[in-house]
């Protein structure tokens, strides 16, 4: 009788010990997707902004479901992206941002072109997406510090696509001033930045010309300052195309 009791107790002890022992036996994701979004005209990466208003990478895990819920991760400001915590699987990958969409639909929702790339991810995959940015913003010369310690820059804005659906009017050309290189419409100093909205075709008329913009608000603080010019057309989610950030040290 006592023996049975001990066996039973032992059995229960084993049960207690093992029942809570179920660890998550799925290894943490460790595969990497890396790559860049490149302007097919110039070969340069497409500048964007950090945060939700910039380029992002869209993953559709097609090996899990024919209609998976998409997974997104954000691109870096310079147009490259890197995610080291992805599960190995088959993905349909595309990028979304201020450029002609890789997946184009007509006005009834039919997909007319799809430049997504499908990858079977094991350890690492490097992807390069060639896109047509809505606008290209390029510096003309270097920023000039004026006598009153304001700064004047010159840029040239041109179209990055000849797609007839995206020949829309330029609505904004803005000079953003910030004390970090992460300069853009979601991070700038409103005291010195010069924002200009254009109505009708006034902005479009500036395409291809050298545009001169000076900071507002008088003297800039005597510290490292970063400048970046953003321009946009009223397409899609209204995102900006940017120049590279440049700095001036007083």
């Amino acid at each position: 009788m006592k023996k049975i009791f001990y066996y039973a107790a032992l059995l229960m002890a084993v049960g207690v010990g093992s029942s809570c022992n179920k660890t998550d036996n799925y290894a943490a994701p460790s595969s990497t997707i890396t790559g860049s979004t490149v302007d097919e005209g110039t070969g340069q990466t497409v500048q964007t902004e950090i945060g939700g208003g910039g380029t992002r990478v869209k993953l559709l895990e097609t090996s899990y479901s024919a209609n998976p819920v998409p997974i997104y991760f954000q691109s870096k400001q310079d147009g490259t992206f890197n995610n080291t915590k992805v599960f190995p699987a088959t993905y349909k990958v595309s990028v979304e941002g201020p450029f002609v969409p890789l997946v184009q639909t007509d006005n009834t929702g039919t997909v007319v072109s799809d430049s997504s790339q499908t990858i079977v991810l094991k350890d690492q995959a490097t992807l390069k997406f060639k896109v047509q940015p809505f606008l290209r913003v390029e510096w003309v010369g270097k920023p000039v510090v004026n006598a009153d310690k304001s700064v004047t820059v010159q840029v040239k804005v041109t179209r990055g696509t000849s797609n007839p659906a995206y020949q829309l009017d330029v609505t904004n050309i803005n000079l953003y001033v910030s004390n970090t290189q992460y300069d853009g419409q979601n991070n700038y100093d409103p005291r010195y930045s010069t924002l200009t909205s254009y109505s009708g075709s006034n902005g479009t008329a500036l395409l291809g010309q050298t545009i001169t913009i000076t900071t507002t608000g008088g003297a800039l603080p005597l510290q490292d300052v970063y400048f970046r010019v953003g321009a946009r057309i009223n397409a899609g989610l209204n995102q900006y195309n940017y120049s590279t950030p440049v700095s001036v040290t007083f």
């Binding site: 819920v69 409103p190 507002t216 608000g217």
Partner: protein, 646 residues
């Protein structure tokens, strides 16, 4: 002994046999359908729940916290440019989830409650007259329409669930994962539910005829609002999203616009002669009477302008509008005040102000020096009465007090005129030289040249270190109760009625729909004089300048009139969304304010207009025209496709 045991066993078993029989008696502690649907009292209780769930943006709404939340410190007007608030630092989408509003689960609970009522009531119809049954069904359809409207204006196409979904134990739940319908299908659902309500509701609600429950015309009024929204989306929206079956979840073909505008126009026209603009205290010649009339409009229960209202009752259902919004000097015991401070951009929309050629307020004389005034109200001497009834201007009277708003005392010389404190357009801080200011309401008086003492800031601000004051130079007037004792200006203590739908909006819906139809060349079944006549009707009541020619009543004029008339009623937020101009108005925007100063040397006041001293930038994200579907809803129902950009 053994005998006893058997007897006990027998008794227990016998008791067990009979006990099981009683299990088919309905539980007495759970309210059953016959209890609810079997009596007018039960139906009344059900209705009370439906109406309390009805999603309208009232005193207890803010984009940050959603519906039915008591603590409104990021008020809606501070997201639209109508006002600034110390707690709102920029553009905002609505916040859902966590301790914010459960927009998805909440609204689908309401839709479920409507569906259940619609399915169940007919079985109990024999207890009531046909008129009662029709009216109650009409109300359930009305509430359901309003709920779909609340969803579609936020998300575009959403699942249409017009019958109660039941989970069968053991089944997989694929049939419960209803996918999103097209945006057009949802707008059409709103229209058809409201049509049912219009056809089945009586002219006056038989249970409550005071406008707190729906009648035929309430449904028609909301149909005009909803269809105008749908028409605007069809015309102005640029964001599209399709599912794999070609259903357009976001956006509608532009060709649909005219049809919706026509529906809005026709629905608004149904109210002709049934309601009227409130004119009880109005006089065509007396500006003060026009002001008082516009003030009374928001508190007179007998107003024929009220179409649909939400009533409050202490202590069951209360709000704290006055507590959050009274000027600083009338602060109640809870310590809140001045959450809504109208911007100069908003004030400049009104008539009767001295203006520069570019439409801004004229505060400088011809030589570029500040104009001087003996009293801060002098610059507003000829202001449109509606402005005074909407905004407390610096120096105006409220609750018998002079509402004193002053940024500081200028101690420099006034000889030869005072030059602007900062260059035009500067976003810098005011210089400290020649300026005495106060950082809090505990002030140290300044001795004026004539020996009098004067506090640097007014009693209602502006305090530089503490923003519990009129940070824009103005304070809100609309909805404030002038008869509420300061000791009663408390959170969760007020019962002022919210007017969700008033006749002025219906008229403006009709004017806008007509103007839109005219711009689309669809003038066949409208009166093309409507925009002009209606804008002038509204302006005449407001004491504003009238339009002179029918050609003046453009879409922009009608919109602008709407923004002035319905300001601070939580309507502009939705108007800016449906016109798709939020991102254009809030595009790196810093709103403007008006700061009154007292010149010690001149003994007079002057005004400085500048951008918000906090440099708070408003940039509306285009994605927000279609809000993000809460992640929790997609986890539960993976058929839901997220809106673009999230």
């Amino acid at each position: 002994m053994k005998k006893f045991k058997y007897i006990i066993l027998f008794v227990c078993l016998a008791a067990g046999i009979t006990a099981c029989r009683k299990l088919n008696i309905p539980p007495k502690n759970i309210i059953q359908d016959p209890d609810v649907f079997g009596s007018t009292g039960g139906v009344q209780a059900y209705m009370a729940r439906l109406y309390s769930e009805l999603p309208i943006e009232d005193f207890r709404y803010s984009p940050d916290m959603g519906l039915n939340f008591f603590w409104i410190i990021k008020p809606t007007p501070a997201t639209t440019g109508e006002a600034l608030s110390r707690d709102q630092g920029g553009s905002s989408s609505e916040n859902f989830g966590d301790w914010h509003w459960d927009v998805w689960g909440g609204n689908y609970t309401t839709i479920h409650d409507c569906d259940y009522f619609i399915q169940t009531l007919p079985a109990y119809a024999k207890n009531y007259t046909q008129a009662q049954v029709n009216a109650w069904l009409g109300e359930a359809y009305f509430v359901r329409a309003m709920t779909y409207f609340a969803l579609v204006k936020r998300f575009g196409g959403v699942p249409i669930v017009n019958k109660v979904l039941n989970y069968t134990p053991g089944s997989d739940v694929t049939d419960l994962k209803v996918p999103r319908a097209s945006e057009k299908a949802v707008w059409d659902q709103v229209a058809s539910d409201l049509d049912f309500a219009i056809n089945n509701l009586p002219e006056v609600n038989a249970d409550y005829g005071d406008g707190s429950r729906a009648n035929k015309y309430v449904a028609a009024a909301f149909k005009s609002r909803a269809m105008l929204y749908a028409g605007s989306v069809a015309k102005y929206n640029k964001i599209t999203l399709f599912d794999n079956d070609h259903n357009q979840l976001c956006g509608m073909p532009e060709s649909e616009a005219a049809g919706y505008f026509q529906k809005a126009y026709d629905a608004a026209k149904m109210l002709d002669g049934k309601y009227s603009l409130y004119l009880s205290a109005w006089s065509p010649t007396d500006k003060n009477a026009q002001y008082q009339n516009f003030v009374n409009l928001f508190s007179d229960p007998a107003s024929k302008e009220n179409i649909f209202v939400r009533e409050y009752q202490y202590p069951n259902s209360v709000h704290g509008y006055d507590a959050y919004n009274v000027p600083r000097q009338l602060m109640g015991p809870n310590g809140y005040s001045s959450e809504v401070n109208p911007t100069l951009d908003f004030v400049e929309k009104f008539d009767g102000l001295p203006k520069n050629p570019d439409g801004t307020l004229k505060t400088l004389d011809a030589s570029g020096h500040y104009q001087l005034f003996s009293n801060t109200m002098d610059i507003f001497a000829n202001a449109e009465p509606r402005l005074r009834a909407t905004v407390i201007l610096p120096g105006d009277v409220f609750k018998g007090q002079n509402i004193e708003i002053r940024r500081g005392i200028y101690t420099g010389s006034a000889a030869g005129g005072i030059s602007p404190l900062l260059p035009a357009g500067s976003k810098s801080q005011y210089p400290t030289a020649n300026l005495v200011v106060s950082s809090t309401a505990g002030q140290t008086a300044y001795k004026l040249p004539n020996g009098d003492l004067m506090n640097p800031a007014g009693l209602s601000g502006v305090f530089t270190g503490d923003q519990t004051c009129a940070i824009s130079g103005f304070s809100v007037r609309k909805w404030l109760n002038p008869n509420l004792a300061t000791s009663q200006v408390l959170e969760n203590n007020e019962t002022q009625t919210w007017i969700e739908m008033r006749y002025a909006e219906v008229l403006l819906n009709r004017a806008e729909a007509a103007a839109e139809l005219m711009s689309l060349g669809q003038t066949g079944s409208i009166n093309t004089a409507d925009p002009f006549t209606i804008v002038n009707q509204i302006r005449s009541r407001a004491g504003a300048d009238l339009l002179t020619g029918a050609g003046d009543a453009t879409i922009d004029v009608v919109r602008n009139e709407r923004r002035k008339e319905l300001a601070f009623e939580n309507k502009t937020y939705w108007d800016l969304r449906r016109w798709r101009i939020f991102d254009k108005e809030q595009n790196g925007t810093i709103y403007r304010i008006l700061m009154p100063f007292y010149s010690a040397d001149a003994g007079k006041y002057f005004f400085d207009q500048r951008t918000d001293e906090r440099n708070d930038v408003y940039t509306y994200d285009t994605r927000w025209y279609y809000e993000q579907i809460p992640g929790g809803a997609i986890s539960k129902s993976s058929n839901l496709i997220q809106n673009p950009g999230y």
